[in-house]
């Protein structure tokens, strides 16, 4: 497959991901008669909190994954320190940005309450995303296996 076609395919898949959201937005706006169903301030706050928390949690999971990598090497310390640093930067950035003021606080009174809420929120979102992924990929396989049986190769005479 040529590089151009591959790039095009990725773009098509990205559009396919966004298309249902746009359709819902257009239908919702048409039914309600305005384009302001969502609050941009709240949406930005949620986006920023989700980014920071999922980055930190993702780095923490990948830090655990480094142990599998270390098994295939002579247990190097450098990547371990690198990932610990990445996790610490994530935690520090989260605490610093939440502590800056009301920008990232969502109906929570303190930095600690917001951090704990972010953790819980991201865990629940991860759970929903994982379940949806299993169901979608499973449905795809179910559609593939329940289709007509295909002959892959011509049988030898």
């Amino acid at each position: 497959m040529s590089e151009l076609k591959q790039t095009l395919n990725v773009k098509v898949l990205f559009i396919a991901f966004l298309l249902p959201i746009f359709i819902i937005w257009i239908i919702d706006s048409s039914l309600k008669g305005d384009f302001s169903s969502f609050d941009t301030n709240d949406s930005f706050t949620r986006f920023a909190n989700a980014t920071l928390t999922s980055y930190t949690l993702g780095s923490l999971i990948l830090l655990g994954n480094l142990f599998f990598y270390a098994d295939s090497r002579k247990r190097p310390l450098a990547p371990l320190i690198g990932m610990i640093l990445a996790v610490l930067i994530g935690i520090a950035a989260t605490l610093f940005l939440i502590g800056m003021g009301p920008m990232l606080l969502e109906n929570n009174g303190s930095v600690r309450a917001q951090t704990v809420y972010n953790l819980g929120h991201t865990i629940v979102s991860f759970l929903a995303i994982s379940l949806a992924m299993v169901l979608c990929v499973g449905s795809m396989f179910a559609a593939l296996t329940n289709g007509k049986k295909r002959k892959m190769f011509d049988e030898e005479e």
Binding site: L13, A16, L19, P20, I21, I23, I24, I27, D28, L31, F38, D39, D42, S43, F44, R46, F47, A50, T51, T53, S54, Y55, T56, L57, G58, S59, L62, G64, F68, Y69, P76, A78, P79, G82, M83, A86, G90, V116, Y117, G120, T122, I123, V124, S125, F126, A128, I129, L131, A132, M133, L135, C136, G138, S139, F141, A142, L144, T145, N146, G147
Partner: protein
């Protein structure tokens, strides 16, 4: 114990036991350690599920409450998918084709259960007063992800597969049904959840989804970068000397002894 300590001991510690136990059981090579990992993960799950009783004052215990509520429909959906996949044309582990009906029934019942939780009487009400706020996050994210992902899979089957129009149509139908459900949520009030509440949480879940995608991509990029920098710093591995004539002859003997086989008549 104060409130915070209670939450740590009865909620956050069991919650961290779940991934740790799973990781321990997957990475261990001995049966004892694998079983210990499984036991830790299951114990953690049970303790999180009973956290509304052990730490009722902590807001985090709403997650345990939500887990208890969604375990039924989620299990039905997962069992249904398993039965549907393995009752089809699979080379190994094929189930009887009658299981397809049971799988479809489980899927329909699981979906109906989730719909009743959103619009009917089965909504997770925490502490007998208000709707569990984590349910308001879970359901929009779940349905939005199904909607977008099935759309991606539908297109990818057309791009990558050959003559997969009918399978692509199935995925497109799932995406359309999800869109209809979301539109219903945005316009129809449920018994306990109004359409305004769903609208607010739905658009927040869109932001949430993009935030998670950006955050996870960033962490994977950092991980790849750390590995790349380390691999570059260790330099080229030492070259192995070429094989000697004795080693070559030994290898030829081994190859000659292992290829060929009996002629078929």
């Amino acid at each position: 114990m104060d409130e915070m300590m209670n939450a740590i001991v009865f909620f956050w510690l069991p919650l961290s036991l779940m991934p740790l136990g799973a990781w321990f059981s997957l990475s261990s090579k001995t049966n004892l350690r694998t079983n210990f990992g499984r036991f830790a993960a299951v114990s953690g799950f049970i303790l999180v599920c009973i956290s509304p009783w052990t730490v009722p004052t902590s807001p985090s215990s709403s997650i345990g409450h939500l887990l208890g509520f969604i375990i039924g429909p989620s299990s039905l959906l997962l069992i249904g998918i398993y039965l549907l996949i393995f009752s089809g044309n699979v080379p190994v582990g094929k189930l009887p084709s009658s299981d397809r009906k049971l799988g479809t029934f489980c899927m329909a019942l699981g979906s109906l259960w989730f719909c009743l939780m959103q619009w009917g009487e089965f909504t997770p009400i925490y502490d007998g007063r208000e709707v569990n706020r984590f349910w308001l996050i879970f359901f929009p994210t779940f349905i939005l992800m199904i909607c977008s992902l099935s759309s991606v899979l539908s297109i990818s089957m057309l791009i990558i597969g050959e003559e997969r129009q009918s399978e692509s149509m199935v995925m497109r139908m799932i995406s359309i049904v999800s869109i209809i459900l979301i539109i219903c949520g945005l316009t129809i009030d449920g018994k306990n959840i109004s359409s305004e509440t769903f609208t607010t949480y739905f658009w927040l879940s869109v932001s949430d989804l993009f935030g998670i995608l950006v955050g996870v991509s960033l962490s994977i990029f950092i991980f790849g970068f750390v590995i790349y920098v380390y691999e570059r710093s260790i330099g080229e591995p030492n070259s192995v000397p070429p094989p000697t004539p004795e080693e070559l002859s030994q290898a030829s003997q081994k190859i000659a002894a292992n290829i060929g086989g009996a002629e078929s008549e």
